[in-house]
C-alpha cells in the first residue's frame, strides 16, 4: 500500500543529456503532500527539462522517480496524467470554442445509455468549479471568460484527472493582480486537498506569497532547497544567479544628449496610432510607457518601417528621409528588436552564428558574403560581450533559452553598428540575470553615444535607463517626463491622466 507519511513525489538523481550539454545533472526534488513547492532558476537552468522528465515528455537518462511510494516512469504526458501528475502551462491548453463543462470533461464525459449526458456534465462542472470559488455558467464557451478563469478551469481539469501532483508552469505570467489572486485561491484549495503543487514563475513576490518551499536550479544542478519562511529574497536571488547581485545604484549622468539624430513630424498610421512627433538625440534613451495597446509597439514599428506610415515626415540628421520598410531603416543604421521574439525575432532553425550575422549580411547585399573568419570573429565577440550561453555557435538558435535568444537578437543589431536602436519589451520573458545585463547594456550603449528608443511595460525598468520618458495612452502621446521627473509614480500618474508635474 501507499505510504501516507512519505513524500508525495521523490525524484532522485535525475539526469538528462543533450548533445553538447548536460541539461540535468543528478537532480533531486522532494514534494510533500499539501505543499506548494516553487521551482526557481534562470532561463536555461533546467526547470522545464526537469518538468518534462517528470511528466514523461522527455525520457530521463538516469535517476529514479517515486510517486506515492511507488517507482514510476511515465512514457508520455497522458501516462503521467493517468498516474496522478497533471500539468498546466502558461498558455491555456484547452479548447477555447468548447464550453467550460466540455473542457472539464473532455475525454471522460458522463454518459447515459451510451450518450453524453449534458445535464450531468454541466451540474458536475458547476459543482467542481464552486470548489475553486468560481460561480460561473459552465455551459458558456471557454473563450467568453478571462484568461485567469480559463487558467483555473485548466487547473481544475488537471486536478480532476490526476490528483496527486500538479505542475503549474508560469500560470500567472499574463495575469493582473486580481486575477493572480483568483489562481492563488485555487492553489490554496488544492493544498487543503493534500495535492503537491509545483509552482514555476519568474515573479519572486508570488513565490514568497504562495509557496512553502523552493528548490533552486542553476546550470542543470540543484543549488539548494529552502523553506521560504526562513529565507529571504536576497538569499534566493543569490542562489539563482550564483553571484551577489549588487544593488545597482542608479545615477543618471545628466540628460545631456547630443545632436538630433532623427526627427519625425506627425507620423501616423490610421487605426494604429494617432499623429506623433518626436526628436531623437544621440546619446539618449527614450522610454515609451503606456498600457498594453496604448501605441508603444506601434510607435516602434512605425519608426523602423515595419509598418508603413500613411502620413508624416522624417528627417535624419537634418535631411529629409523616408522609411517605408525595414530595409530602409537598416540602410539608415536603425535597428529594431521586436516584441515577439519567437515569431518576429529569431530564425529558429538557423544557427546562432547565422542569426547574429543576418542583418549585417543583408545590409552588405547578398553578392558580398562576409568572409567566414570575419563572421566567426563577430559572432564570438558578441557571445563574449553579451555573455550568451551556448554549447556551440552552430546550434540552432531555437534551442537557446529565452534570455540568450534575446541577447543573440541584440547581437544581430549591435553587429550592424546602429545609430538608433529600438527595443520593444527587451526584457519580456527572460530571467533575472539576463534582465539586469540587458539594462546595463542599454546604459552602456547610451554612454557610447547611441540613441535608443525602448518600449516597456515595466516601469521600474524604464525609470532605470530612460533619460526621457514618453507616455502613451489610447494611441496618442499624452506626456513627456525628463530628468528628476522620471519616477514610476509620475509615469503611473501620466498614464492615468493626472499629470501635475508632466511637461507636455
Amino acid at each position: 500500500m501507499t505510504d501516507t507519511n512519505g513524500p508525495m513525489l521523490h525524484a532522485k538523481g535525475v539526469s538528462k543529456f543533450f548533445p553538447g550539454t548536460i541539461a540535468l545533472d543528478d537532480v533531486e526534488l522532494v514534494l510533500h503532500r499539501g505543499e506548494v513547492h516553487a521551482l526557481l532558476g534562470e532561463n536555461g537552468a533546467g526547470k522545464s527539462t526537469l518538468i518534462k522528465c517528470l511528466t514523461g515528455a522527455y525520457h530521463r537518462d538516469a535517476g529514479q522517480i517515486t510517486l506515492d511510494g511507488q517507482d514510476v516512469s511515465p512514457g508520455s504526458t497522458a501516462e503521467s496524467q493517468s498516474i496522478g501528475i497533471g500539468t498546466v502551462y502558461q498558455e491555456v491548453n484547452l479548447l477555447p470554442n468548447l464550453t467550460i463543462a466540455e473542457n472539464l470533461f473532455l475525454g471522460r464525459q458522463p454518459t447515459r445509455y451510451g450518450f453524453v449526458s449534458r445535464k450531468e456534465m454541466i451540474n458536475g462542472a458547476r459543482k467542481t468549479l464552486l470548489e475553486y470559488g468560481l460561480n460561473i455558467d459552465p455551459s458558456e464557451p471557454l473563450n467568453s471568460y478571462s484568461v485567469a478563469i480559463q487558467q483555473v478551469v485548466a487547473i481544475a481539469r488537471a486536478v480532476e484527472m490526476s490528483g496527486k501532483v500538479l505542475i503549474l508552469d508560469e500560470p500567472t505570467a499574463s495575469l493582473d493582480r486580481d486575477e493572480v489572486e483568483l489562481v492563488f485561491s485555487a492553489i490554496r484549495k488544492m493544498k487543503e486537498r493534500g495535492i503537491a503543487v509545483v509552482f514555476i514563475t519568474h515573479f519572486l513576490d508570488q513565490v514568497f506569497e504562495i509557496s512553502d518551499r523552493a528548490t533552486i536550479l542553476r546550470n542543470g544542478q540543484v543549488v539548494g532547497t529552502r523553506v521560504l519562511k526562513d529565507s529571504n529574497r536576497k538569499e534566493i536571488v543569490t542562489m539563482m544567479l550564483g553571484r551577489q547581485l549588487e544593488q545597482k545604484v542608479h545615477e543618471r549622468k545628466g540628460g545631456e544628449a547630443g545632436e538630433v539624430l532623427l526627427e519625425v513630424t506627425d507620423l501616423a498610421k490610421r487605426g494604429m496610432i494617432e499623429p506623433f512627433s518626436m526628436k531623437i538625440h544621440e546619446g539618449e534613451v527614450i522610454g515609451l510607457a503606456g498600457l498594453l495597446g496604448s501605441g508603444r509597439t506601434e510607435t516602434a514599428n512605425l519608426l523602423f518601417g515595419a509598418v508603413q506610415s500613411d502620413q508624416g515626415k522624417m528627417k535624419l540628421r537634418g535631411k529629409d528621409t523616408s522609411i517605408n520598410r525595414p530595409r530602409d531603416a537598416i540602410a539608415r543604421r536603425i535597428g529594431l528588436c521586436p516584441e515577439d521574439r519567437k515569431s518576429e525575432g529569431i530564425i529558429g532553425n538557423l544557427s546562432v552564428r547565422e542569426n547574429i550575422i543576418l542583418a549585417l549580411q543583408v545590409r552588405q547585399g547578398w553578392t558580398r558574403p562576409i568572409p567566414r573568419a570575419k563572421i566567426n570573429e563577430i559572432a564570438e565577440h558578441y557571445v563574449r560581450a553579451l555573455d550568451i550561453r551556448l554549447a556551440s555557435l552552430d546550434m540552432p538558435i531555437r534551442l537557446l533559452s529565452g534570455g540568450n535568444q534575446q541577447k543573440a537578437i541584440l547581437a544581430r543589431w549591435l553587429a550592424t553598428e546602429p545609430d538608433l536602436l529600438i527595443l520593444d519589451e527587451p526584457t519580456r520573458g527572460i530571467d533575472v540575470g539576463a534582465h539586469a545585463e540587458i539594462i546595463e547594456l542599454i546604459e552602456k550603449l547610451r554612454q557610447n553615444g547611441m540613441a535608443l528608443v525602448v518600449a516597456s511595460s515595466e516601469l521600474e525598468e524604464l525609470v532605470a535607463y530612460s533619460t526621457r520618458v514618453i507616455v502613451l495612452r489610447d494611441r496618442q502621446q499624452v506626456g513627456e517626463l525628463t530628468g528628476d521627473k522620471i519616477t514610476a509614480d509620475n509615469i503611473v500618474h501620466a498614464i492615468a491622466d493626472e499629470m501635475p508635474e508632466a511637461v507636455n
Binding site: 543529456f17 537518462d61 542543470g220 543576418l358
Partner: protein
C-alpha cells in the same frame, strides 16, 4: 574550410548510402551493370544510362530545392516543360537556329516562373494552389503552341542538346551536372542560400532583419521556371518533337520526391542541392533496377512505390529520433564539442 567539406559530407551521407545500396541492387539483378564501354565516339553502359535518364528530374530538382527551401512548392514544372519544349520546337520549325530556340524556351520558362512568383509573393496565394493554376493551364498553352499536334523537328543543333554527346559524354549529363554545380556555387558562395533558408524558416523575422523576401521569392520561382525550361528542351530534343500532352508528365512529382529523398524538409529551411541531385539519381536507379530485373512491366509502379517507401521510412523523423536516442544514451559521446561547464560562470568582481 575542411569543416565545411566535412559538414557537407555528413549532410549527404544518408543519400550516398542509399544510392550505393540501390546501385548494388542493380548489380545483383544485372551483373554487367557497372561495365562501361567506349564505341563510336560515345560511352555506353547502364550506369551512364542512369545518369542520362535522370537529367530532366535532376534539372527540375535544382529549382525545386530552392522553392521548397522557401516553404513553397512548384507543381507547374511538368507543364512548363511542355510549354517550353513546344516553344523551342516551334521556333526551329519556323527556321530559327537552335540557340535562339533555347534562349526563347528559357525566356518563356522565366516568364512562367515570374507568374508563379507573382501569385505567391505579391498576391500571397498559397504556393500549392498558385502553381496548380499553371500546372492545369500549362498543357493547354502548350497545345495552343503546337496546334494540337506533336511538333517534330530535325534541327541537328537542338537534337544534340537531348541526344548528342560532347567528348563522348551524353550532353544531358553534362548539362545537369554543370547546372547543379553552378547553382550550388552561387547559393553557397554568396549569402543567397542563407537568405533563402531564412525566409523559409521565418519570413516575418527575415523581413524585420531587412531581407527583401518578396523579390527573393519571385527569383526562386523564376529559377525553377528556367530549370523547367531547360529540362523541357532536353526532353523535346531527345524525342525530336514536342508532345504537349506527355512531355514532363508527372515529372513535378518525381522532382518533389527527389528533393524529399534528398532530406530536404517540405516545411522549408535548410536545403542541399547536392542531396536533391543524389535523390534524382536514386529515383532513376530504382527505375533501372525494375527494368533490368526483367519483372513484368505491370509490377513496375508497385515495386517503385515500395522501394521509395523503404527509403522514406529510413529517413523518417521517428527512425531518425530512434537513432539519435541510441546515440544520446551514451552519456559522454566523444565527438561532442566540449564538456559543458557545470560550475556557475562567475563574473569578475
Amino acid at each position: 574550410m575542411s569543416s565545411t567539406t566535412q559538414s557537407i559530407y555528413k549532410r549527404i551521407l544518408p543519400q550516398l548510402i542509399i544510392l550505393a545500396a540501390v546501385l548494388v541492387l542493380n548489380f545483383l539483378v544485372f551483373p554487367d551493370f557497372f561495365s562501361i564501354e567506349f564505341k563510336n565516339g560515345r560511352i555506353f553502359g547502364n550506369l551512364i544510362d542512369v545518369l542520362n535518364r535522370c537529367a530532366p528530374t535532376a534539372i527540375l530538382c535544382v529549382g525545386m530545392t530552392l522553392v521548397i527551401a522557401t516553404k513553397g512548392i512548384d507543381l507547374s514544372v511538368g507543364a512548363v516543360m511542355a510549354i517550353t519544349g513546344a516553344t523551342a520546337a516551334s521556333l526551329v520549325v519556323d527556321g530559327h537556329g537552335w540557340f535562339t530556340a533555347l534562349i526563347g524556351a528559357v525566356a518563356v520558362g522565366a516568364l512562367c516562373g515570374i507568374w508563379n512568383g507573382f501569385l505567391v509573393a505579391v498576391l500571397r496565394i498559397q504556393p500549392i494552389v498558385a502553381t496548380l493554376v499553371l500546372m492545369v493551364a500549362g498543357r493547354g498553352i502548350a497545345q495552343l503552341i503546337t496546334e494540337g499536334t506533336i511538333l517534330t523537328f530535325h534541327d541537328e543543333g537542338l537534337v544534340r542538346l537531348g541526344a548528342g554527346t560532347i567528348i563522348g559524354i551524353p550532353t544531358p549529363i553534362l548539362i545537369w551536372i554543370t547546372l547543379g554545380a553552378i547553382a550550388t556555387f552561387i547559393v553557397r558562395k554568396t549569402s543567397l542560400g542563407m537568405l533563402i533558408e531564412a525566409i523559409g524558416i521565418n519570413e516575418a523575422s527575415s523581413r524585420l532583419a531587412g531581407i527583401n523576401s518578396r523579390t527573393l521569392l519571385v527569383c526562386v520561382y523564376l529559377i525553377s521556371g528556367m530549370c523547367a525550361a531547360i529540362a523541357g528542351v532536353i526532353v523535346a530534343a531527345d524525342i525530336k518533337g514536342a508532345d504537349a500532352n506527355n512531355a514532363g508528365l508527372w515529372l513535378e512529382l518525381d522532382a518533389i520526391l527527389a528533393v524529399v529523398i534528398g532530406g530536404n524538409s517540405l516545411l522549408g529551411g535548410r536545403f542541399s542541392i547536392i542531396a536533391s541531385l543524389l535523390g534524382a539519381m536514386i529515383i532513376q536507379s530504382v527505375n533501372s533496377v525494375i527494368l533490368l530485373s526483367g519483372m513484368p512491366p505491370e509490377f513496375n509502379l508497385v515495386i517503385k512505390a515500395l522501394l521509395i517507401l523503404a527509403i522514406l521510412v529510413i529517413q523518417s523523423p521517428k527512425i531518425a529520433h530512434l537513432r539519435y536516442m541510441l546515440r544520446a544514451t551514451d552519456p559522454l559521446p566523444r565527438d561532442k564539442p566540449k564538456p559543458p561547464s557545470v560550475a556557475p560562470q562567475e563574473k569578475s568582481q
